[in-house]
Structures are given as C-alpha cells and as structure tokens.
C-alpha cells in the first residue's frame, strides 16, 4: 500500500513536472494571487471565466491551472488583509482581525511570512491527505450503487446547506431551485425537452457559464458599485524583516498545526471549504489562548491558524469530488463542470481510469504551493502596488473579461442574454439574503441525482424502501437525518452563527 502511494506519486510528479504543466501551474497560481489581492473578483467567477480558454488544453493542464487559481487565491487574499485591512477573498476576512494590527505595529513582514509559510505547510499536509485518503474513499465508492449515490448526494447537499451561513430554509430552497434549473433542457431518458419555452439555445440544458458568471461575477461587481468608494491606503512601514522572530515562530507553529488539522477535516465535508475553515480556526485559537484579549490587537496565532486552515481546506475539498464525484462547494462544482466538459466523469473511476490525471493533480498541488511561497513573499511589493488601481477602472475590465468568457463557450448572443437574466435573478436573491452557492451545487447535481433516483427505482420496481434496505444508503440517510436534527437544535445553530460573526 505504502509503496503504491510512492509509485503513484511518482507517476503524478512525472506528469505534473512536464514543462507545459509547470507553466499552467504557474499561470494558475499567478492569476489566483492576482484575484486574491484584488477585491471585487473572487475565485468562482475567475475559474468560470477561464473555462472556455482551457477547452483547447489537455484535461490535466486545464485542471492544474484551475486548481492553482483556487488555492492561489487563498494565499493572495492574506496579503491585502494584512497590509491594507481589505480582504481580497472571503476566506481571508478573519486575517484582517489580527494581521492588520500586526502591520500597524510594524510587524507586517512577520505576519506575511507566517501566513505564507503556514499556508505552505498546510498545503503540503493537505496534499498528503489527498494521497492517503483519496484511494481509500475511492475504494469505498466502488461498493456504491445507484441508491447509495442518491443518498450520498442527499447527504452532501444537506451538509452543504447546514454548514453554509445564513438561513437553512433559504439554503434548502436554493438547492431545490438549482436542481430544477439543472433539469432544464432535453431529458436524456425520454428525449422530451423540459422548460425550454422553445428557445433552441437551452435544448442542451442551461450552460454553466452564464449561470455562474451572472450569479457570482457580475452580481459582485454591482454590489461593489453600490457601496461607497473606499480608500485603500497600504501600510507605509517597510516590509524589512520578512523572517518572523523566534517568539513569533514559537507562538505560531502550534496554531499552524491546529489550523492545518481543522482545515483538512472541514475541507472534506460538503459545504465546508476555505471560508468555514478560516472562521472556525480563528474561533478555536481565541478559545484556547491563555490570554484571549490579545486577539484583535495583533496576535500572531490569529493569522497563523486561519491562514493555514483555509489553505488546507482548499486542498482537501478536492477529495469528495475526485473520489465520490460529489462537489463540496461552488468552486468544486465548477471543477466538476470542467471535468465533464473534458469528458471525465468525476468519481471513483478517475483514479482507476485516469491515474495520471488524479496523481498529476495531487503532485501539481504541492508544486503550486511551493511556487506560491515564492510568488507571494519576495514579490509582495508588486501585488500591493496593484491595489493602487482604482475600482472605477477595474470593474469595466472585469465585466469585459466575464462577457468574453461567456461568449467564447459557444459564440452565441443568447448566452449573454441568459447571463443578464441570471444577473438580475442573482441580484434579487442577494437582496432577500439568499446565498447563491447552494444553487450551483444543486444545478450541477440535478441531472445526476435524477438519473440515480430513476435507476434505483427501476431496480426496486418503484419501491422507495430500497433506500433503507441497502446498508450504505441507509447509513448515509441516517447521517442526513442526524444532521438535520442537529441543525435545528437552536444551541447548535447559535454556535454556528457565533462562529461566523467572529
């Protein structure tokens, strides 16, 4: 078994170390850092926008690049949080709490390097996590049948809803609407078109890009425009000593370890991912600190823990997608879309049918993390300069790239009309405090869920008891019910809200 992992990793590294793949890893990491630094554009629209560009690449190169954008954004987001008190990414919001006070005290260098080195450590552990647990979960998935897959998706969606912030009821509604939207187009089984209203462009289903770009990319621009212009004044202190002091080091390494462990676990859970991990880690650091009053005034643990946690989670959130075919958050849903476009059905078969793809991605994550330390630490000055670009010049560029990305999928104006429609829909949802992320999960899973439900019920001749009779499915459903019960117990909900308010 151990020898297998080494052998597999060797396969992966030989695939990932090709000149072409190194190049795309670098491009992905650079782009990720860029969007991590710039507020107003997140990893979700960026990855979606670049999807059409990757159509021409081979699957491994494109996945390497898209993954690089995701974990690159976790690195870049910390830089602006620390230096400018402006999180470029949702997962770096907590980093502002102690990172920026540190910068004000002239310890910006220490904060930046702890964030980067903590992230690197977490990234390495996360990669090992995938290498070790991936095959185990994939082996388990081989035992899965249609009823089990259906129950797994129910569990995954419910978990995503419970762990997402905001109202659980609204999140369930979003998932259901997403599932319904996923069914638009021609039903593969009967050949009947559903909800197409005679529009030929959506006979093949609603395209992924207009939906994601509209709901996330463009709505985000509009939200930013509605707010007043913020002044972004970088901390003027020189970033002289990048290396943390011995005391900083001693205080931060246990936090890095805890953040990595917490992030790795939370990343695997559907609905988890980088944002939840960083918030949870900050709460934990504050709870176990001997002197919690230091937090908010420049406690280095408050930077080390969350930064490690968000990066660990960014890595391990690939596990359910690559082994079970279950995307755990909106970004993984986009990665799933990318894999399907390249003709790869995410799931346990990825590892057996495309081992070079699975292990190549795992290896590239380690390479990417090493690149990111270099991109972020010595080059930090360049990234901070980018913040001088005012938003009024930035947003037309973001918009233009978004629409070019959408148009490039199949060169049709109808896609842009659809994008405009989803922009308006997304704006309405935001006004009513409905988070669009669960909708995207539902959208991707809709057709797969329907197919597994159909197969399961054909097999049992219409008897729904099949979902309880099969042990795997029954276990998953029991877990689902337990989760729902936990979620509605007010005590649990209150702590969940507290974790997000910190």
């Amino acid at each position: 078994m151990d020898i297998n992992i080494i052998h597999n990793l060797a396969t992966g590294f030989s695939a990932a170390l090709s000149l072409q793949n190194l190049w795309f890893a670098l491009v992905g990491c650079m782009l990720g850092t860029l969007i991590g630094v710039l507020p107003g554009i997140g990893p979700i629209p960026t990855i979606a926008m670049l999807l059409p560009v990757t159509f021409g690449l081979d699957p491994l190169s494109s996945l390497i690049m898209l993954a690089g954008i995701y974990y690159g954004a976790q690195y870049g987001g910390s830089t602006t949080s620390i230096l400018v008190n402006m999180p470029g990414e949702a997962s770096s919001i907590v980093t502002t709490l102690d990172g920026h006070p540190m910068a004000k005290q002239g310890r910006a260098g220490a904060a930046l390097s702890v964030a980067a080195l903590g992230s690197f450590f977490a990234g390495c552990v996360g990669t090992i996590f995938i290498a070790a647990f991936g095959p185990v979960l994939a082996g388990l998935a081989q035992e899965f049948n249609s009823p089990d897959y259906f129950s797994l998706m129910v569990l995954g969606l419910v978990m995503a809803v419970v762990l997402a912030h905001g109202s659980v009821v609204k999140a369930i509604g979003m998932v259901l609407i997403g599932l319904l939207l996923g069914l638009v187009g021609t039903d593969v089984n009967s050949g009947v078109t559903r909800y197409t209203f005679g529009i030929s462009e959506i006979w093949d289903g609603i395209d992924f890009l207009p939906l994601v770009i509209g709901l996330f990319g463009i709505v985000e621009v509009i939200r930013n425009l509605e707010q007043h212009d913020e002044h972004r004044v970088p901390i003027s202190t020189k970033i002289r000593d990048l290396w943390p002091s011995k005391k900083d080091f001693q205080q931060s390494w246990p936090a890095v370890l805890r953040g990595t462990a917490l992030g790795s676990v939370l990343g695997i859970l559907p609905g988890g991912g980088a944002v939840l991990a960083s918030f949870a880690s900050y709460t934990m650091e504050k709870k176990i600190a001997k002197d919690p009053s230091r937090f908010g005034k420049g406690a280095i643990e408050g930077v080390a823990g969350p930064e490690s946690a968000n990066n660990a989670a960014a890595q391990t959130s690939f596990i359910p997608l690559l082994t079970l075919g279950l995307p755990s958050n909106a970004i993984m849903a986009i990665m799933m879309g990318a894999m399907i476009i390249h003709g790869i059905q995410p799931g346990s078969a990825v590892m057996t049918k495309h081992p070079e793809l699975f292990w190549g991605m795992v290896a590239s994550m380690w390479i990417g993390n090493a690149m990111l330390v270099i991109i972020n630490l010595p080059m930090v000055g360049i990234w901070v300069k980018l913040l001088a670009v005012p938003y009024r010049l930035l947003y037309p560029a973001i918009l233009l790239f978004c629409v070019i990305g959408v148009y490039s999928t199949n060169n049709s104006s109808a896609q842009l009309a659809l994008t405009a429609a989803f922009t308006v829909f997304g704006y309405i949802l935001i006004r009513f405090e409905c988070e669009p992320a669960p909708l995207v999960l539902g959208f991707v899973l809709g057709p797969i869920m329907e197919e597994n439900l159909r197969r399961a019920l054909v097999f049992s001749r219409g008897d729904p008891m099949i979902f309880i009779q099969r042990p795997i499915s029954a276990t998953l459903l029991v877990l689902t019910i337990a989760l729902i019960i936990l979620a509605v117990i007010p005590q649990i909900r209150r702590t969940r809200d507290v974790a997000f308010q910190e």
Partner: protein
C-alpha cells in the same frame, strides 16, 4: 381584527421567489409525463422538486409574518440597469461591429454605472481595454471572436 404586518421583509421576498418558481415549475411542467415510481417520466422529478419549492415558499411566507427580520436594503437602479445593458450591448453588437468597437462601447456604457463619470478617462480606458482584449483573447488565446465588422 388584529392587523397583519410583515415582520421579515427579506423572508417575504424569498418566499415570493420560491412560490413563483414552484408554481412555474408545476404549470410549465404539467405537460410532461409523470410516469410512475418504477418508470419515472420526464415530469416525475421536476414535479416533486417544484412541489417542494412551493411548500418551502409557503412555509417561509407564514414565517415572514411571525418572526422579525432585517429590512431589505435599498435597490439602486443605476448600477444594475447599466451593467445589464452593457452585457446586452456586448451580446448583440459583437457580431455586428466586432470586438474592437464593442469592447469600447461596452466600457463606456459600464462606466456610467457610477455617478461621477469622467468621459475622457473612460475613452482612454475603453481604447485600452479594446486593444488589450484583442491581444489577450484573439492573439494570445486564439478565441474565435470577430475583431472587426468586416470579418465575416
């Protein structure tokens, strides 16, 4: 009779969205064959989903009259209107005018989503972005976009 008052406007809004989508799903899906559990028709899963969405929306509707919630933030018409128009400008003019002109026009429209517009600055920005997008997407990434109006 006690006055009925909306307590959670955001919840009410979400409830209306859910109810509208649920009803639309049922109405426009009524021609799809439902089939049976053992032989699911194309209407089976959509009907169940629409029903659930409708039920959830109804529950949320009642909830919004009972439990207090935050108010809906004011909608600013200008940003959303102009951004949506700029998307449509791009979508419907690209094939007529080509990327260079369309990117320029789109930038000008989008720039008006803000109140204080500096026309001269935006003309420069428009020219810059139009050149940049041709260099990156057409030359660099070889995306099949029409550059000028005479291209086709």
């Amino acid at each position: 009779m006690a006055r009925v008052r909306v307590k959670g406007p955001q919840d009410l809004g979400a409830a209306i969205v859910f109810i509208v989508i649920g009803i639309a799903g049922l109405v426009f899906g009524q021609d799809l064959a439902f089939g049976s559990s053992a032989k699911m028709g194309p209407g089976y899963f959509p009907t169940i989903l629409s029903g659930l969405i409708l039920a959830l929306g109804t529950g949320l509707l009642i909830y919004s009259f009972i439990v207090d919630g935050p108010p809906i933030e004011t909608v600013q018409v200008r940003p959303i209107a102009l951004i949506v128009i700029s998307i449509l400008v791009f979508g419907y003019l690209l094939e007529l005018l080509g990327l260079v002109v369309t990117a320029f026009l789109m930038t000008l429209v989008a720039a008006h989503a803000r109140r204080k517009v500096n026309l001269r600055e935006n003309i420069y920005l428009g020219i810059g972005l139009s050149v940049f997008s041709v260099l990156i997407f057409v030359r660099g990434l070889s995306q099949p976009l029409p550059v000028w109006w005479w291209a086709q």
